[in-house]
Amino acid sequence: MSLIRIKINGIETEVPSDFTVLDAARQLKIPIPTLCNHPLLSPYGGCRLCVVEIKGIARPITACTTPVSDGMEVITSTPILEQLRKTIVELLLSDHPQDCLLCEASGDCTLQELAYFYGIRENRFDGKRRMYEDNDKNPFISRDMQKCILCGRCVRICDEIQGVHAIDYTKRGFDTKVSTAYDMDLDCEFCGQCVSVCPTGALTGKQWSSKGRTKDTKTVDTVCPYCGVGCQITLHVKDEDVIRVTSSPKSHNQGLLCIKGRFGYTFIRSPERLKIPLIRVVDKKNDDFGNGNIKISFKEASWQEAIDYIISNLKAIKDKHGPDAICGLSSARCTNEENYLFQKFMRAVVGTNNVDHCARL
């Protein structure tokens, strides 16, 4: 790809010819505020916050939709540009609930940051407000459309990357709203990509509602426990509980997740988790194996009892029938370290190569 010379705020640089002015500024680490722009999505030019001045063009122009051209000279910040940006934020806030005290996104909201940055306490604009209720009954995604600033990131990610197009703009003008067909409850793949790109609190996860906001949680980067794509996920932890899952845009999966990765984490603290070793007390000949109450087939045991029971039986079987009478099945959901030790246990301690896992299933 050919390179193009361009000057931003007096700094000369060379950028690929398919860059926009916004891309070029970001490469130079020059900040330009945006709401509707997202690196994975097509340029939209909806929020107008990224307006810049370009020499030879009479009016301010959006950096996100303007391709670079040779010799272009760009100024990203002037008093007029900042006033324009402030006005845009004021207009957005004039029809935005002042709900930061309770909003899930507080501390993780681009609109809130912009209001802070531009020092907007009083609003010059008064007038009609959009009044919508979030009455979508789907179990995953809360859609508070009063907080929507119509940046369209959710619409684009659902269409361009998820390929579902479950939502789009409906109506016109002031009544414009991001909605499903016929304004029905969301019935989609529930990947939550829309939640991950929403710059405000309009789209949030129902599972983490009121459990703790981003700034109040400890985050731990790890790997999704489901399929083999191995998406990187971030667990948000509060009070020894995982209360939310996100994924960094810097991850190899670019911050994209599916329903299982994003919303399928509550099994971690399921009340059905096994918590104590169990030893069988009902003879297998007489057991119905859980058609009735499975609990009565076992008694709770200490780790020492369980291990003693296993070792005495394993040793007896090994002595009587040889090590090849013992088989081990390992797990594609355990770590490498656990799998390594498991096969080492079977081979070096039990003395057999009867070890396999579920690669065929």
């Binding site: 390929g163 083999g228 191995g230 169990l278 013992i326 355990c334 770590t335 656990e338 070096a348 065929r360």
Partner: protein, 515 residues
């Protein structure tokens, strides 16, 4: 990637984030070919959809090869430089005309030609497959047929090409790498290779067996034969995942000792003698290796519940009780030993992994990892074309069992459900266990959507709700594998691929009746 050829993979539902990438590539102009017995979601983005009958993959792939050769689209330089057995193989491809394949696969010959031109016409084309290719009695030959196409076009060893089996579980790759295989030590070193065995004997200070172990799918018969008396299962639920469930369950009842180590009371754990409560992914440290051989750090976020312990701690305790000390303090200590026995990961450690995942091979510390294999040629020498022939099913379609059942996953659930079935929100949208049936078949049987039906194979019967949909072709049924209340593996027979002992889950003869 210019061309994405998806065969036997329901990528949009089973690997949704890979599908995201495919859709992004498609928007940039990549062509997509989908071959599947079901109209899977990726068909929406496909330039060609090859709706083949279950179990006819070899005929389809050979016909694609046939057209590529006939039209001169094959990569002659690559074939001459890197392969062997081409001439011999080409002779066997001669009979696989599009017309011949159309009769076998049910795919219009024009579509076969179109797909061949797209795939054969590109030198930046990748093939993606999953269990739709492997879980057949001809699984190995299916994979070889794919490999033949790759050799024919030279679409390997370069960026945006290759054969890409998408791994179904987050650490299938890792569990295989680590040597949880009956014939391999860690790093795919063979147990029958005396040099490899000596290396591990000296590393572990113990004599090792030189006998290849038995494969998981062979365990039930080995129990019935009296050869296997004890089974130690860590984090698997074979009561649902193995074929022919009744056979499997009656086998494990005969064990003298069944140890199940898991996070839930699984269907398998119910048959155990001892159950050990273990930690889930969020409660431990370690690494997972994804489908691209990318080793990534797993980090502990919270403690395991109550008395549950990590699998690592449990194995260490058992080993020490058996009189073999395992003095590891952390997962990192185990990783250090693991990397010392396998050159391909020798250059990886936890510090490096903290900066991001690394794709093996990474043989030394300054190596950045390997994004794709065979960039520098093929270490084992020339690549051989493998002759694969379509064989009509050994058991002809019978009047008793006129439908072909295929199994798989749906979007919302995962595998045999031990995790997703415990997520209430997911449970609330998935509804009842179901079977997909084509509208024409539904009319013939007199079924309405939502009716309860009885599906029977030669093995057993399950009851499910009918979902009438054109996703499945006439004569084909689909049942998702996730539901423990109507376990599809009651139905599946014990047909296997002879070489790998992979069960034939994707083509099982059944009948359907209205309840």
């Amino acid at each position: 990637m210019e061309v994405i050829f998806i065969i036997g993979s329901n990528t949009k539902e089973t690997h949704p984030v890979v599908a995201n990438r495919m859709i992004m590539a498609h928007r940039k102009g990549a062509k997509i070919i989908v071959a599947d017995p079901r109209k899977v979601y990726m068909v929406r983005f496909a330039d060609v959809f090859l709706n083949l009958k279950p179990g006819t993959d070899i005929a389809l792939l050979n016909a694609i090869a046939h057209v590529i050769i006939k039209e001169g689209l094959h990569n002659k330089e690559f074939i001459t430089a890197y392969t062997e057995g081409f001439d011999e193989w080409v002779r066997t491809i001669e009979q696989y005309t599009p017309r011949y394949a159309q009769d076998i696969t049910g795919v219009d010959k024009e579509l076969i030609i179109k797909a061949a031109r797209i795939y054969g016409g590109s030198r930046r084309a990748g093939i993606f497959y999953t269990m739709g290719i492997t879980q057949h009695s001809t699984g190995t030959d299916n994979v070889c047929s794919i490999a033949n196409l790759v050799l024919l076009t030279g679409n390997i060893g370069r960026y945006a090409t290759g054969i890409n089996p998408l791994r179904g579980q987050n650490n299938v790759q890792g569990a295989s790498d680590c040597g949880c295989l009956p014939d391999m030590y860690p790093g795919y070193q063979r147990v029958v290779d005396s040099k490899a065995r000596k290396r591990f004997e000296s590393r572990w200070s113990v004599r090792l067996s030189d006998r290849v172990g038995i494969k998981s799918t062979e365990i039930p018969n080995a129990i019935f034969d009296g050869k296997v008396k004890a089974l130690y299962i860590m984090g698997e639920n074979p009561a649902l995942s193995e074929p022919n469930q009744d056979h499997f369950l009656s086998a494990i009842k005969h064990l003298d000792l069944l140890i199940v180590q898991d996070i839930f009371m699984t269907e398998t754990a119910r048959f155990a003698d001892v159950i050990l409560p273990s930690a889930c992914f969020a409660e431990k440290d370690g690494t997972f290796t994804n489908t691209e051989r990318r080793i990534q750090r797993v980090r502990k976020a919270i403690d395991p519940p109550f008395h549950a312990k990590t699998d690592l701690d449990i194995i260490i305790s058992l080993s020490e009780a058996m009189g073999y000390p395992m003095p590891y303090k952390t997962a990192r200590d185990v990783f250090e030993e693991y990397k010392s026995v396998w050159q391909a990961i020798a250059g990886i450690d936890y510090e490096k992994l903290n900066l991001g995942g690394i794709q093996w091979p990474c043989p030394d510390y300054n190596h950045a990892g390997t994004q794709y294999l065979y960039k520098d040629g093929f270490p084992k020498g020339r690549l051989r074309f493998t002759i694969t022939e379509y064989e009509r099913p050994s058991k002809p379609s019978s009047i008793d069992y006129p439908y072909i059942l295929t199994t798989g996953r749906d979007l919302f659930n995962y595998h045999y459900g031990s995790m997703t079935s415990k997520v209430n929100e997911i449970k609330s949208i998935t509804g009842n266990p179901y079977v997909e049936i084509n509208p024409h078949d539904a009319i013939e049987i007199g079924l309405s959507d939502g009716d309860m039906v009885k599906i029977s194979s030669a093995n057993a019967t399950v009851i499910l709700q009918a979902k009438i949909t054109e996703r499945v072709s006439k004569g084909v049924l689909f049942i998702p594998i996730h539901y423990s209340t109507s376990p599809v593996n009651k139905l599946t027979a014990d047909g296997f691929d002879n070489k790998t002992k992979t069960p034939q889950f994707k083509a099982c003869r059944v009948k359907i009746e209205r309840l």
